[in-house]
Symmetry: C2
Subunit: 665 residues, 2 copies
């Protein structure tokens, strides 16, 4: 019966520390400038009072910084610290039984009860003397003087005042006895990303479709001419499908036909040809210099370029010759093409993550990101990360972010929920979501509650897309302009991060490859389009308005504050978001039915929103400019999808009344 | 950019392993013979199939045992193992990408699609050859022969049959390639206790009140004469308040008066006098031999004796002189008595868990348990564990259970929820609960759902008491016989572990010390009572009936299967429990109103219960013997509290019909 290596006098207990992902195995995600709110259960045996502090630092810093924690209710404590540098941070919690705080509380009760407490004052004097030993010279003298009074029975009339003196309390709080404090058994990690990881509006286009001349292959120079259009709509990330040379062997033709015709341009995701692989640029798009110029011009418009990185090779990819061991070979000597039996994708060779040479392959694939970072790219959309080994992503993302903590990775994994979440845990900054397939009020409420109000939000940052080159939903195929508008509003207002694939989206292209398919007819994945950006019925101006509302309302720049509210109509969805300081409050009512006007009563948590029951407040519809006077927690709404399928209210809680006029006072 | 120490080819992912308490920091609790059901999220990149196994062993065993895991839905896997020895066990999970399973699945699709798969058969042959290298000599030959056929184009007509042959599949499953398998990063712990930890009926009495002669101090010999009474009621744990010498200094008188009169016996919780301390027996109760005889007699009645261990000292306790450093001294040289200012408890000295001599004190306190274990005691009810330092409990309980894994500890902590839960995590086998103060249907449903259907159930085993010597609830004070019966039914049917303090309870003593107090008038805590166990209106027979029902119905011997069901009346509470194999199903309907008859419609999950919509089934009320024929999921109930305030149905699902008669077939 040996006592193990513990300090048995550590009476404070710390548990349930949040944020914490999988018992501390993965970091939680925050953005530059965020206040990281940390909560913990802190308690001890018996009735003694405690003190607790939050310890935090950059992961590579030598020493901890401290912030005090304060008790909430039910043994829950809270503290916070601000992350003011990108990269990895760590935090933990320390707590101890605070003898002086306990003594002071007890003295208050003894004094109130009129008890003889002469011995207890001596106990206080001992505590104060002991604190003097930990104090600065000046404070020490003050403490010793105070203790001396408490020992001087001739000054007994002063004892009560000293025991309850807030200056003594404050001084003592500066010099607690932490010799047997408890430190939480884990250091928990935080990854700090640029703010754009939390708040971004993405636009995707095919640069080869940007030529002003119909039928001609667009170039980066052509794409530059689209930048003002994208910027005017208010997007801040412009994402390009793969820009590399496209394979010839087994090249797919228009509408994914198995045999390409002469002149067919192929799919950008069939990467690699004699002109190069993942670090090369398709010769028809331009030169590396032209690409860097395009990236620079975009930056002038406040737009970051995001590249699509798809780790797979066309049969003509240089890797296939240079590193055949990175692919699986078949008994007949051929290389294993992608397959989902009985479907064969002979234009694509997947990497073999079980290769013995995995280490060299990991290094090379990671160097692809580093290559494009050198060209000015800081955001990557990663194609199908869930078909590559998970350990690779954890290592590769960490390796890139160690050098370039500002870099963001968007996970394009439309797969099972736990797989999608795993990629978030491993380091992806943002992730595509099931949003395209969530339509009813119940579906949307359930899904967004899971994403924003559970532990998922610590590691999974949703990026919602109403359409992509792979996804033209049945809803968009059939719901016309109001449908496109409402799906756009849902994506951009429910989500602080969202994106659209255009000009397909704003021009409301809705013809599927065939009935029952989510593929576009004449998809840009396999052929070049020519676009008239001035098309009169385009949603471009509406999109610009919504993006302006997002930029002007801090409430819409986070997901964690999302709350759904009751409306007495299942076709009306009502939700709110707030800025972290609560000053900006936006309430959205969306009509989910693109065909009919709906009305209902909205119920708001008036008290929580700072709305007084007896006072009117103003609702300012930011889409139409209309202003409404509401009263209390229950108010009427009516939304006609044929004009605008939503009302996006800024809530103006403090309306002047005559009582605030000067002459009323 | 160095690749850290990983095996990059490990593609299987394991996470979300349950049961797991606080990220594996604490063990989950199970009982001897339990099947430990383990679930985990297991998945990999892409579409490949996986295999997973559960690894488990006694904590001190050298090698792992294995059970296969099977996929449920949504990447969740499940396996189980039986714990057939007391003490600590560990488990973890291993998984790997199963190349042969994947190949076989793909072959099935290729064959169905009529594809040319000649090269794929060769891939299969390679996999089979490789498995032969891992196989037993006999199996290896069979595998080599099979592979040889797949390479022999002259036997191509047999290829399909071989690929899909379940014997080949089964053989291959025995020799998987686990060279790059993933093992979950933690070993999770299980504490295995005797079954009594899960299923027990406790009875508490004061042995000094067992004398047949009014006014005389009862002895263990007297207490022996009560054993048949306790056994007939069906209790299996008999718990005694502290049996040690009682202090004289500041002894409390009757009804907790500050000054004892001559002849007052004092509180058993004021432990220690010249006759000894925590390892001694009060001379008036008997000798150590008589105590051991009492323990032995109880065992003959199927009853285990539980002792109350209260770690605190009366001023006369030998520890105070022998180890003054274990108590806090005040500046005036006196020892600090227990205090909750302005209240003073001068008859009690608390131990100082911040003493520099904590290690010696931990050892001595732990030896108290070991002492009583030597006397035959295997269950301890620990008084106010939440006023002793938490690290002590974790160490002391582990130290005792390392030598005596059969020993159980009941935590008597009526305090804040997180503190109570912490004690469970640290090792207490059972815990008192808030049950005495949960009365309405909503309160009961919420509380028992938290206890039995959340992670709490892994570490916190509730033991529900309708009364204790400290708790005579307002409800019991005012609700008469039906109230006592319904509180008894709730405790003993909602909880597999429960207890009563008697004969106070069964004799329905309900006079409080004063209005608004939960203390008993003339409490046995401070004076000797004389009881007539044959009191005609006693609930003893009713209690015996309920305990018999509990013993005869495995459903009532666990808490994890508890489910509440809708009843169309807020005064009726309906719940069910099942045996682990589902064969025993008990449905309880309790009238929470002790004054009026209530009726309502009960709604059952018919399908889950194996009840066919079109077939009648029988409900057998085990309290009254009445039988009812029910149909479907909605049935009428009526409960009159003045006869019996509940119906306790055994559900008999398989009623014979004429179609089962022999001549009908």
């Amino acid at each position: 019966m040996t006592v193990r290596d513990v300090e048995g006098r550590r009476r404070a207990v710390i548990e349930g520390v949040e944020p914490q992902v999988d018992g501390g195995r993965y970091p939680a995600k925050r953005c530059l400038g965020d206040a990281v709110v940390v909560e913990a259960d802190i308690f001890t045996d018996g009735h003694d009072l405690l003190a607790g502090v939050l310890l935090y630092k950059r992961a590579d810093a030598d020493s901890w910084m401290e912030e005090p924690m304060a008790a909430l209710v039910n043994d829950r404590w809270r503290g916070q610290f601000v992350v003011d540098e990108l990269g990895p941070w760590v935090f933990t919690v320390e707590a101890w039984v605070d003898a002086f705080k306990t003594w002071r509380r007890d003295m208050e009760k003894r004094i109130a009860a009129g008890q003889d407490a002469s011995v207890d004052y001596l106990i206080g004097a001992d505590l104060i003397d002991s604190a003097a030993g930990r104090a600065s010279a000046r404070d020490a003298q003050q403490l010793l003087d105070t203790a001396a009074v408490l020992r001087d029975t001739s000054r007994a009339s002063e004892f009560q005042t000293i025991a309850l003196d807030p200056r003594v309390t404050a001084l003592m709080a500066r010099y607690p006895d932490r010799s047997v404090c408890t430190r939480y058994e884990r250091e928990l990690r935080i990854t700090v990303d640029p703010v754009r990881a939390r708040f971004s509006a993405w636009y995707e286009f095919f640069p080869r479709s940007t030529s002003p001349v119909p039928g001609r292959h667009g170039t980066f120079r052509d794409a530059e001419t689209w930048l003002p259009y994208v910027a005017q709509m208010g997007f801040d990330v412009l994402y390009l499908p793969p820009i590399h040379p496209i394979g010839l062997t087994f090249r797919k033709g228009k509408n994914n036909s198995v045999k390409a015709e002469a002149g067919d341009v192929g799919s950008p995701w069939a990467i690699g040809a004699s002109a190069g692989g993942h670090k090369s640029i398709h010769p028809d798009l331009g030169t590396p210099e032209e690409f860097r110029s395009f990236v620079g011009k975009a930056r002038e418009h406040g737009i970051q370029i995001a590249l699509d990185i798809a780790f797979q090779a066309a049969p003509d990819h240089p890797y296939v010759k240079e590193h055949p061991q990175w692919f699986r070979s078949r008994p007949d000597g051929t290389i294993q093409y992608a397959e989902n039996p009985p479907k064969k994708y002979q234009d694509i060779y997947p990497f073999d993550f079980e290769t013995e040479d995995w280490e060299a392959m990991w290094r090379e694939l990671t160097s692809v990101f580093l290559h494009w970072i050198e060209q000015g790219v800081e955001i990557f959309r990663v194609d199908n990360p869930h078909t590559k080994a998970f350990p690779f992503w954890e290592w590769a993302i960490a390796a890139v972010k160690r050098r370039h903590p500002q870099v963001l990775f968007l996970s394009e994994a439309f797969t099972r929920p736990k797989v999608m979440y795993r990629l978030g845990k491993l380091g992806f900054s943002q992730s595509y979501t099931y949003f395209p397939w969530r339509h009813t009020k119940q579906e949307i409420t359930d899904y967004f509650t899971e994403l924003t109000q559970t532990g998922v939000r610590e590691f999974f940052r949703p990026n919602h897309w109403p359409n992509t080159p792979d996804i033209l939903t049945e809803f968009l195929q059939t719901s016309e302009r109001p449908g496109f508008m409402l799906r756009f509003l849902l994506a951009s207002l429910l989500g602080a991060n969202y994106g659209i694939y255009g000009p397909t989206f704003e021009q409301m292209v809705n013809a599927p490859l065939r009935h029952g398919s989510e593929e576009y007819l004449d998809s840009e994945k396999y052929q070049i389009h020519h676009w008239d950006l001035q098309k009169p019925d385009s949603l471009a101006e509406f999109i610009a308005l919504v993006n302006r509302i997002r930029r002007e309302n801090a409430a819409l720049q986070n997901d964690h504050s999302l709350r759904f509210h009751n409306v007495s109509n299942d076709q009306l969805l009502c939700f709110s978001k707030q800025s972290p300081d609560g000053s900006n409050l936006v309430l959205v009512v969306i009509n989910l039915d693109p065909h009919h006007t709906h009305t209902g009563f909205v119920e708001l948590p008036a008290a929580e929103f700072g709305i007084e029951d007896t006072r009117a407040y103003q609702m300012h519809d930011l889409l139409t400019g209309a202003r409404y006077i509401w009263h209390g927690s229950r108010n009427f709404v009516e939304v006609n999808p044929l004009s605008v399928p939503a009302q996006v209210f800024r809530v103006l809680r403090r309306m002047r009344t005559e009582q605030q006029f000067e002459y009323f006072l």
